[in-house]
Amino acid sequence: MDILLNLAMGFQQVLTPIYLLFVLLGVGFGLIVGALPGLGPTAAIAILLPLTYKSDPVLSMVMLTGIYYGAMFGGSYTSILLNIPGESSAVMTALEGYQLALQGQASKAIQMANMSSFLGGTISVFGLTVAAPLLSKAALAFGPPEYFILMMLGLSAIAFVGTGSPVKALIAGCFGLMLGTIGSEPITGAQRYTFGSYNLGDGIPFAAVAMGIFAIAEVLINIEKGLKPFSGKTEKKMRIQWPTKEELKISMSPAFQGTGIGFVLGALPGVGPTIASFLSYSLAKLQSKRPEKWGKGAIEGIAAVETANNAAVGGAMVPLLSLGIPGSSATAVLLGGLLMHGLRPGPLLFSEHPEIPWGVIASMYIGNIIAIIMGITLSVYFIRLLKLPPAVLNVIIFLVTIIGAYSINNNVFDIWVLLVFGVVGYFFKKVGIPEAPVVLGLVLGPLVETTFGQSLIMSHGSLSIFVQRPVSLVLLIILIIIYLWPLIRFSFNRLKYSNNQ
């Protein structure tokens, strides 16, 4: 009952013209900036943060949160249209969506992404409304050993992303993990593979690598072939295409599963949308009745990924709103917005100022509706990009990725990283080494290593810590089953085969 009253209060506050305008502004800005490669939600919030310095704290929180989920919505567009994942959680969207775009189904893929984003976003806000205190307690039960096993689960996705030879997928994953070791080692602080350059001290920036290896490599290949890029078949009429009934039907279960995974993993500090999207994708592929279609334009893959990474937004708000602790880089910047107004973060902030969390939650319900309407509207214009002359489109991709890479640290060094990995990606593509595992390894590698080291510090060097804790034991069993799944399926099939004989 309390929840309903509070929520009603939140809606009362948000359903005023000024609040609606700020939600609209935030979502619109988020959609557009999120669609630009290299500028994920964190960057989008950070850009507008200084501008909110002078406005009311609730208003600015509502707007900044709007940017957050707006950017998650928008993150899928360039992944689908141009094969440029602007953030790690959109890598899997690019995998399936770009294939659909090449088949002339870009609009359909984008609408699927819009609908999935809306579904994931709205259900996770509902979850945030009813289950935040419960989930935040559960999140605290996760210590380094649990995280380590979770990261290893995420790494298993390497086996599921490639379409071709598994050895090549493993090579790509291993290459990504190697890239992840560059920079200062988290436990001892030792400098590794930095070649004396301070620019590498914080590690290789993920966004620059992803944009290089996906987008620049693609453009280089198209320039070499003299092909019209990004448009195997462009639609003749630039109108909205919707997914068919059958496509919606097969997307249902991945979508709901993705929402659940995204919301729960999003609530775990430091995990966030990336692992959620990887895991949701692999699980959905594992259950799919047509796994051969995955990696070649399976629309249900988009549903699985986009629900997961949008649901993670609602999840990421759980530790922020109930504990007052940011669990991700994006929520850390959001919290910075509150600090700028002189508010102290902590559990009491939200019981002393209930208008902030409930205003934000209410605005998220409304914002998701605004985001899907805007997303569908804007998609028509985004698809027009494909109608530009190929040469101009190539140049635009160069410019946008250059800006995106520079904006990571406001440093030209990251543009060099972008170019180097463009060339690396070109050679990988030529040989048929998939690019997604590289990104996966780069994102997860440092986390795997840190959490493993932390676990051993906690246990003073004993590996038994992974089986002594109940949560980690359960996760470990799941991990073993997933890693042995091919073997299990193989022997199961053998058994069936011999029974039929």
Binding site: E224, K225, V392, V395, V400, Y406, L419, G422, G453, H460
Partner: protein, 149 residues
């Protein structure tokens, strides 16, 4: 194609050897457990085995794509584009975002895509300025600054 693949796999093997050698010097084990060099060493061993496998197995060298490793007529275009990208990135800090991307746009359109000089020049002015307005003015983001902006 075959030769290209062989050289790429050999490159990966060389990378894994270099990487593993560095890892050894980083220290494999510290008091509580794994040292900074342990994970890199494991990775380099895995990479070495995988790359050797591809190099030696007939599967690894089989043609997966129909085109050759580097197309003869595309080679020139490709090298030119990469060169222009390198030059404009080098110039980024010296002459600023607008000028260097103007050079990039113009050279790609005119010399790689063989557009007319006038048309290339118009696009080379419009695109960078539009982007500069969108990002630097409207979004208030920082872009590389040089002598100009």
């Amino acid at each position: 194609m075959r030769r290209g693949k062989i050289s790429l796999y050999s490159g990966l093997i060389a990378l894994s050897i270099y990487y593993g050698r560095e890892a050894l010097s980083l220290g494999l084990w510290v008091g509580f457990g794994p040292g900074p060099g342990l994970m890199p060493l494991l990775l380099s061993i895995i990479m070495f085995i995988l790359a050797c496998f591809l190099l030696l197995s007939p599967d690894g060298l089989k043609n997966t794509e129909t085109d050759s490793f580097i197309l003869a007529d595309g080679k020139r275009r490709l090298i030119m584009v990469v060169l222009f990208l390198i030059i404009s990135t080098y110039l980024m800090d010296i002459i600023g975002f607008i000028l260097s991307t103007m050079i990039l746009t113009y050279t790609i359109l005119q010399m790689v895509e063989k557009w007319g000089m006038k048309r290339s020049a118009i696009v080379a002015i419009i695109l960078p300025v539009t982007f500069w307005f969108l990002f630097a003015v409207a979004f208030k983001m920082q872009l590389p600054e040089g002598i100009w902006f």
